[in-house]
Symmetry: C2
Subunit: 391 residues, 2 copies
């Protein structure tokens, strides 16, 4: 049995990058840049007024003659002589000969005469070419995750398409004869299937939408066949349940039958001990525990960073943060514990109901409290580390 850190190393070391694709800028939110992004032009690309006011050649003269006006977007600007001023608006081009803009609140007008009441410093309120950045500068690095600000920024530079890493096609196989589809009354001794839809939505939060969800009958033949078909269609395969050593758990054998290379089975953690991870060329395969909460914990700790890494992320793990523990916790298992918890301000409180079958507390959790395998006890008031479930 390997440690959590070893297992996390395995899932990152075996995270082959997905293909590089060209995307329209407007569709790129959440993707990771596959190449450095260089500025194709300077910003601003012309001398721009930063305010509404008057452009002029700096002088101590307080009365100037207004000879015209320039609006943002005007293609041509008047030539300006000493003693003259032009009305100008924010974002408008400053005439070549002018060097300063006085804001309108510091002026009065008498017909065509401008009276400057508070003289600005030379060059005030004029944004020089390249003030924000110069053409050719490295602006966003490979691996950057595209957010709304990057999209606005790249739009301002005129980008229409950008190169990013693709998102994976994922297939989710759910196993277990006790599982029943929703929509009909529950049969005796059955439970409603929940892992598939849960994992599907966890993937959606990562911006992954190409997801196939398949229920597999609990026989070796059917399981092997489903794994084979999934490997043909998907980049990543998540199998929920059937990974233990019970007589009806065929998943491991199905993985072997399909020539999937096992990297590890079982991690020294609670919940989620019977986690399986393997690859076959550029396909990755996770065997997740059937218990819903175990499954979701394994998703956050291993599947999510693996997928993010394949999508090009340089910081694929959930954010680790620190908070103050509100109660004492013993770790009698010498395992790494992931405890569903609520963080308010700088306090963290683990929920009661940590059993691996229990999803109700997970729905309310915004944090996974992390207790390392070699920590036997954490005390009330200790600063502890948690994984932030806002992502």
């Amino acid at each position: 049995m390997i440690s959590v850190l070893e297992a996390q190393e395995f899932v990152l070391r075996n995270a082959e990058k997905l293909p590089v694709i060209s995307l329209k800028l407007e569709d790129s939110l959440g993707y990771y840049l596959a190449e450095n992004c260089l500025a194709p032009l300077s910003l601003p690309s012309f001398r721009q007024s930063a305010m509404d006011g008057y452009a002029f050649i700096h002088t101590n003269e307080t009365r100037l003659k207004v000879t015209g006006q320039i609006q943002a977007g005007d293609l041509f600007t008047p030539q300006l002589k000493p003693g003259e001023a032009v009305r100008i608006f924010t974002g408008a081009p400053v005439p070549d000969t002018a060097d300063t803009v006085v804001i309108q609140e510091h002026t009065t007008r008498e017909g065509d005469t401008l009276i400057i009441e508070k003289l600005p410093l030379p060059k005030a309120n004029v944004r020089p070419i390249g003030e924000q950045l110069t053409a050719g500068a490295l602006v966003l690095k490979k691996g950057h995750q595209i957010n709304e600000a990057s999209i606005g920024f790249m739009a301002g530079l005129g980008f229409t398409e950008i190169k990013v890493y693709a998102k994976p096609n994922v297939c989710i196989l759910t196993t277990g004869n006790e599982l029943q589809e929703r929509g009909t009354p529950l049969k005796p001794n059955h439970i409603y299937e929940s892992n598939g839809i849960m994992l599907q939505n966890a993937l959606k939060r990562l911006g992954i939408s190409n997801i196939q969800l398949i229920k597999v009958e609990d026989t070796l033949e059917q399981t092997s066949k489903a794994v084979k078909q999934a490997l043909e269609a998907a980049d990543v395969l998540l199998v929920s349940g059937g990974i233990s050593v019970g007589d009806f758990d065929f998943v491991q054998e199905a993985f072997q039958n399909n020539g999937i290379n096992e990297h590890f089975y079982k991690v020294n953690q609670k919940p989620g001990k019977p986690l399986w991870f393997g690859t076959k060329s550029d396909k990755s395969v996770f065997g997740l525990p059937g218990n819903p909460a175990s499954s979701l914990t394994c998703f956050y700790a291993y599947v999510l960073p693996h997928l993010r890494s394949r999508m090009g992320s340089l910081n694929p793990f959930l954010n680790e943060r620190s908070a103050v523990l509100t109660e004492t916790i013993k770790n009698i298992h010498s395992k790494t514990l992931f405890l569903k918890a609520g963080v308010t301000g700088n306090k963290i409180t683990p929920f009661t109901g940590q059993a691996s079958s229990m999803l109700n507390t997970y729905a309310l959790s915004n944090a996974l409290l992390l207790i390392p395998e070699d920590t036997e006890q954490l005390n009330e008031g200790d600063a502890v580390t948690y994984l932030d479930l806002n992502f």
Copy 2:
């Protein structure tokens, strides 16, 4: 001019809830519950084995006769007598007469004879009915934001449809004659339009997809007409630019012409002073500054909490967190400052390049450092508050 706190109060106080709609559970990620969710059944709903092993009636006898097996999903279970055991698997129903499951690792088999090597306590490894929750219990409250765990949890309870608050239709109007569409070489004195696509993607991150993006010509007539049409189609109107008092800024007049009730104009903050907010019956209208970074800051501080509140959120603001400042900052303006910043571990560093036209640092920011209007200086090493841009 009002303070940031007053302005935030205004945008929440005037956040009419959107209509309640019925959604398929699988499509509900990110929505907010519009009613309390009660458990329609107990979990588990039958006595379940928690492990692979053998069910039996607790006894000190160490040799039992194996009379059958029960798989997860079996509709019927055998009756069990003292001295007998049945092979049982995780999730399978425990026979009515049995009270305990011994895990397989603590047993050996000699043909039909089971030898218990380590006797568990009575009732061990049997999940009683309702262990997780009992039918009728309140499981998720109105206002809860649905995540993948809530979806899994509600799926396990058999929910197919749930009641949530709708997401808004949003219209974004961009103003400014200097703005040019991407795709053609930049004309002199023009800039590529970036605010529209930026705001559109910020909305997408909130799960809002019904967005209309319209470029308006800078005349009062066209602006008034566009505002009128947007009010007919959208729940929320975002107007980018044209909100200042320059001769070509027609947005405020267009708002008046359309009978929109002004709640405030101008907030004592930097960037984003010329922010306008109003409503007309259940429609909300924001006049956002044209500078991209100002616009985005106003989005995070006002538009986002307003929208979340309309969508049913009880905690609509971005998370406020604390970190240690790595440098000294003066606030000479007596305004609330929002500074683009990077947080690493528990340290926060504001970026250089805070000018309101600059989006490049915003793309790299994961935090907005908040400096209250009455704070004149923050020192290196101070614990400071920031808004977390992970949302």
